[in-house]
Structure formats: structure tokens, C-alpha cells
Amino acid sequence: MTTTTSGTAKVTLPADNQILITREFNAPRHLVWKAYTTPDLVKRWWAGQRGNVTSAEIDLRVGGKWRYVMDAGAGFEVAFHGEFREIDAPSRLVNTEAYEGIPDPDGHAGLVTVTFTEKDGRTHLEMLCEYNDKVDRDAVIESGMEGGMQESMDQLEIVAVDLS
């Protein structure tokens, strides 16, 4: 029987320019690494409930690029890209992350360090995201809200259509 760990991501703000996301998975880390770095598998989880991943490109080598595109409905596309800085499979991955929906994406790019630690067949994932400053960090958190807003608007539209 599989023990799921649904809805247990923890987000904290260790410093003004940082976001720390942690989560435990009921799987050994070589599989978490695989799901995290294989394009066809990334496509299945990266959009969450907010749309579909239409493209996931990963050139997994130091200096290699990655780019994910999500269709969030109503022709609204969300794209991120970045470059791999450190790769130590299956325990550590460092990459930049830039949101293409703002002016000068690369100037506001974050540096993301993901560590995978295995214990008793389970994997503890720690994702530290560092930005230029508090303004950029807060913008990233707000963009998560934007996704939430988008969902709410969609829900509102369904209700409105039902009423008409």
C-alpha cells in the first residue's frame, strides 16, 4: 500500500531575498530525480492544476538550457527558462530560473538549488530559491497568486455561464 503525502509542501522565507520549499516523497531519490529532470515526466506535474505543459525542454549538462511552457487557458501562456549551473545526480541540482512574462527576464532570474536526501526509501526535497532582492522575491510569490486568481476567474466564468 502506498502512503501518499498529499498537500504537504512547506514554504518559508529564510531571508528577504529567499524562498525555501520543502516536501517529502514516498519514493527513493533516484526516481524523484528522474521525475524532476525528464521532460515527458515534468510535463505531467509542472503545471499543477493550472493548465497543461505544452513544452518541456531539458539539456541536462552544466551550461545547458531548460525551458517549460504552460498553457493556462484562454490563450494565456506561461513560460520559464534557465541554465543549469551544477548537476550532481541524484542529490543536487543548481539552475537559474527566469519568468518570460516580465521585461528583462534574465535580469530578474532566480538561482534555484534543489537537494534530494534519501532516508528509509523516502526522499526529502529542499528547494532554495534566491533572488536579487526582496522586490523580485515578492514578485515571484505574487505570480503564484496570479495563477490562483486565474483559477478563480475561470471558476467565476463557469458560474456566470451557468447563471445566464
Partner: protein, 85 residues
């Protein structure tokens, strides 16, 4: 809670604890009342709620992602087990 208890719990010197308490009182995260000769401190988490709500939306996005990732992992585990047989 009296300040002496906080000193014991935190393992800090009393002036330090008092200094922290003063700052926390200024932003209304800690409230104080006099009980006889003692000052009793209690946490007031209300001002933290907007911050918590603000962060919760972002956290929710990661919950959605990681819940799906967990499903992918369940499949990968089965494949792994099959290969072991």
C-alpha cells in the same frame, strides 16, 4: 507567560529576552498584562495572518505540482519493482 519562563525556555539572558519582547510588542505580535507583581506575556498571531494568507497561495501551487509528481513517482516505483523481478 512570565519573562523568567521565557528566559529559561530560550536559554538567553534576560536583557536580551526583554529587548526581543519590546520589539515584538511594538508590532503587536506580543501582548502584555500585569498580574500582581508579574508581567504576563502572550503571543498575538493575528498580525501574521495576512502574511500567511499571502504565502499560502504560492504554497498551494507547489502542493498541486508535488501531488502530481507523487503520482508520477508511484508509477515509476511500480516499473522499478517490475524490473527487479
Amino acid at each position: 507567560m512570565p519573562v523568567n519562563d521565557l528566559v529559561t525556555l530560550l536559554g538567553l539572558a534576560q536583557p536580551q529576552v526583554s529587548k526581543h519582547l519590546r520589539v515584538l510588542r511594538e508590532v503587536d505580535l506580543v501582548r502584555v498584562r500585569d498580574e500582581g507583581r508579574q508581567r504576563m506575556y502572550r503571543l498575538n498571531s493575528e498580525p501574521l495572518k495576512p502574511i500567511h494568507d499571502w504565502l499560502r497561495r504560492y504554497e498551494q501551487m507547489w502542493d498541486e505540482r508535488f501531488d502530481l509528481l507523487e503520482q508520477v513517482l508511484d508509477e515509476l516505483k511500480e516499473e522499478d519493482d517490475d524490473n527487479d523481478d
